[in-house]
């Protein structure tokens, strides 16, 4: 997995609560057996006038001009600013795959749905939880200033605004370590295979029906 340390980028505002993973990537695109190529269909139903199909050419499709990602001022955005309970619903990892494939490295929200939150870390996306008032303020600033950028520094756990003001953020130390070093979870776990085997040996005595 690629490392994430520090980035500065345009912020796109997704100003609605409870954005679900069906909205992030609709079901027809889940038929792919690959991990890549979901970016053009991110928020498909909100982004295009017509109904998208897997493997179709998206470049010629009619856009909903008012949708945030279709506005010229938000092109090149790598930070998505969102409202509460972002990523609720289905466990589909296609949601973070689509966000990442589109170009988002960071999602900021007052709260996230649990499974989506967890899935982000596995794909080099930083889901950052900030206080609702702080998020509200960021929305106002993003709407007010075209080309509004944020710098997100994982090393120092700070978000820096265009005016130089910084906002500290909390992040799980293990998750931070994995993102900073681009670590693979499976490799880390397999380093403990003796512990897993010891657990299995013990468990087999207590619950033999689980080891047929």
């Amino acid at each position: 997995m690629e490392k994430i340390v520090k980035m500065t980028a345009v912020v796109a505002p997704m100003d609605r609560a409870n954005v679900d993973t069906d909205a992030i990537i609709p079901k027809q695109f889940l038929k792919s057996i690959k991990r890549s190529g979901f970016g053009p269909n991110l928020f498909d139903e909100w982004r295009y006038e017509d109904v998208g199909q897997p493997d179709a050419d998206n470049s010629a499709r009619p856009l909903r001009k008012e949708f945030v990602l279709n506005q010229s001022r938000y092109q090149g955005a790598k930070v998505l600013l969102a409202r509460e309970n972002f990523g609720c619903g289905s466990s589909r990892e296609h949601a973070p795959w689509a966000l990442k494939d589109y170009g988002f490295d960071v999602v900021i929200a007052p709260s996230f749905a649990d499974i989506f939150f967890n899935n982000c870390f596995k794909n080099g996306i930083m889901p950052l939880v900030l206080d609702e008032k702080v998020v509200d303020e960021l929305f106002k600033e993003v709407f007010a200033q075209e080309g509004y950028e944020l710098t997100v520094d994982l090393e120092s756990q700070q978000i820096v605004k265009p005016n130089g003001e910084s906002i500290p953020f909390e992040i799980d130390s293990f998750r931070r370590h994995c993102l900073l070093n681009g670590l693979d979870d499976i490799g880390l776990t397999l380093a403990h295979q003796d512990d897993i085997k010891a657990y299995e040996a013990k468990r087999k005595q207590v619950s033999p029906w689980l080891f047929p």
């Binding site: 100003d15 609605r16 609560a17 409870n18 679900d20 069906d22 909205a23 609709p26 079901k27 027809q28 889940l30 038929k31 792919s32 057996i33 690959k34 991990r35 139903e45 109904v51 897997p54 493997d55 409202r83 509460e84 309970n85 609720c88 619903g89 289905s90 466990s91 589909r92 990892e93 973070p96 709260s111 996230f112 749905a113 649990d114 499974i115 967890n118 899935n119 596995k122 794909n123 799980d172 130390s173 293990f174 979870d185 499976i186 880390l188 776990t189 397999l190 403990h192 295979q193 512990d195 897993i196 657990y199 299995e200 468990r203 207590v206 619950s207 033999p208 029906w209 689980l210 047929p212």
Partner: protein, 471 residues
């Protein structure tokens, strides 16, 4: 020793190791696999040249893409080539890695969350995961079960473990006695309406109180299934005699001495007296009414006799915007009656409500009645081949067909419309599924979540009605 919750007990029993910051390695006893969230996980194993840690803990069945019409051609009967490749890929991966698959054509094939308990592949005290958020269903048997993403599917295949931090404990206690005509689905919709779609975030929910003690195991599955719609990955109910009776004699259940040993262990799978819950929600079950969702989030739900909310009366601007957007999408007016909403499509099925008891409840309403000619399509989709067989043995299929329903083959079907069963744009659907998100049942489709008996009554009336007038 201090008093423990059911979740504490399940967590402790599966702890392989724990770091100082609380990051833990948790052992997983069972993984269920389906075609949508597993192909990239198997591909990951291949690319890293890894093998499954254990093969016998995994069980696969295709469900999301399978057609519910003609299945005689097996996988070849899937007309959409993209869907067909995904189902074929599951079969190839299962064969390559030595994993048991209930393929299309096998009577045991069905929705993973129906198949697991039905086969005894879900047992009390297990940790169980699946690349599907409705995996909480299995918690109805006193298991610790939750959905995972594809990276974690691969992680469990490769290591039999997951890296996790412990969730908080939440108790949702519903006491009293349900009114006749009020089903487990109404209970869980009322809970979601009360605590909100993010109410359980970060928590493992235990459903306790008289209502759940009185509830059947299949009813508990309906409730646990929708824990995720309240924000919680995990929903569960303590083990009791009903649990043990349900599990006994199923193909994957323990036998002989191991059965006795297992039952003794399982009877401890309940929260101790005085155990600490971080969050407690109490509700009175006797006042719960049949529920109908009106909007585009499961928390947008009301009593059947309720009126659609008015965004002008909502003080919070984000919430008011949410209500207005939902009304626009659903084509509904504020301050109108739920009962005035038409039911143009009816879908009885999904991992929430496609078990035999659901079909019995719906058939009891439909017996001797016909669906309204305003209903364009009414579908019944069993959760598995075995549910279908059982229903046919009881003659339920005939009741549905005589009423005007189509009796289909098992799968996820119109719950998320990955197969050919889609809700057309602009149509209102009385659906026993679990999500009313925009586009969930088909682009532009308008979902109203209800119980099987409420869906059946709506089919007869052609609009939403109180099922208690039909009993």
């Amino acid at each position: 020793m201090s008093a423990k919750t059911l979740y504490d007990k399940l967590w402790d029993a599966h702890l392989v190791r724990q770091e100082e910051d609380g990051t833990a390695l948790i052992y997983i006893d069972r993984q269920l696999l389906h075609e949508v969230t597993s192909p990239q996980a198997f591909e990951g194993l291949r690319m890293a040249d890894r093998k499954p840690w254990r093969t016998d803990t995994n069980l696969a069945t295709p469900d999301h893409n399978v057609p519910t019409t003609d299945l005689t051609g097996g996988v070849a009967s899937i007309k959409d080539p993209v869907s067909r490749i995904q189902v074929e890929t599951l079969g190839m991966n299962a064969r390559e890695f030595g994993i048991t698959e209930f393929a299309m054509g096998d009577i045991r094939q069905g929705i993973v969350h129906v198949v697991g308990p039905e086969e005894g592949a879900t047992l009390p005290g297990m940790t169980l995961v699946c690349g599907d958020s409705h995996t909480a269903t299995h918690g109805a048997l006193g298991a610790l079960a939750h959905g995972v993403g594809t990276s974690e599917v691969e992680h469990v295949l490769a290591t039999q473990c997951l890296i996790q931090k412990k969730m908080k404990n939440m108790l949702v206690k519903v006491d009293g006695q349900l009114q006749p005509g009020v089903s487990p689905k109404d209970v869980v919709l009322a809970i979601i309406g009360h605590i909100g779609t993010a109410g359980g975030n970060g928590h493992a929910i235990e459903f306790g109180g008289q209502v759940f003690r009185d509830m059947s195991i299949e009813g508990r599955m309906t409730v646990c299934n929708m824990a995720i719609e309240a924000g919680a990955r995990v929903g569960m109910v303590a083990v009791d005699e009903k649990t043990v009776e349900y599990v006994q004699g199923r193909p994957y259940s323990p036998k002989g001495d191991e059965w006795d040993m297992a039952v003794t262990a399982w009877m401890d799978l309940k929260s101790d007296e005085g155990a600490h819950f971080d969050t407690v929600v109490e509700m009175d079950g006797s006042v719960i009414e049949p529920q109908v969702s009106w909007g585009t989030s499961p928390e947008m739900v009301l009593d059947v006799n309720g009126m659609i909310p008015d965004p002008a009366k909502e003080m919070d601007a984000v919430k008011a915007g949410g209500i207005q957007r939902a009304l626009d999408y659903m084509g509904l007016e504020a301050n109108t009656a739920i009962k005035d909403i038409p039911a143009e499509y009816v879908f009885i099925g999904s991992c929430t409500n496609s078990r035999i008891e659901d079909f019995r409840a719906a058939a009891a309403v439909l017996k001797g009645r016909k669906i309204s000619d305003k209903v364009e399509l009414a579908l019944v989709v069993p959760g598995s081949g075995l549910v279908k067989q059982q229903a046919e043995q009881e003659g339920l299929d005939k009741i549905f067909i005589e009423a005007g329903f189509e009796w289909r083959n098992p799968g996820c079907s119109m719950c998320l419309a990955m197969n050919a069963d889609k809700l057309p744009a602009g149509k209102h659907c009385a659906s026993t599924s679990n999500r009313n998100f925009e586009g969930r049942q088909g682009a532009g489709g308008r979902t109203h979540l209800v119980s099987p008996e409420m869906a059946a009554a709506a089919a007869v009336a052609g609009h939403f009605v109180d099922v208690r007038d039909y009993l």
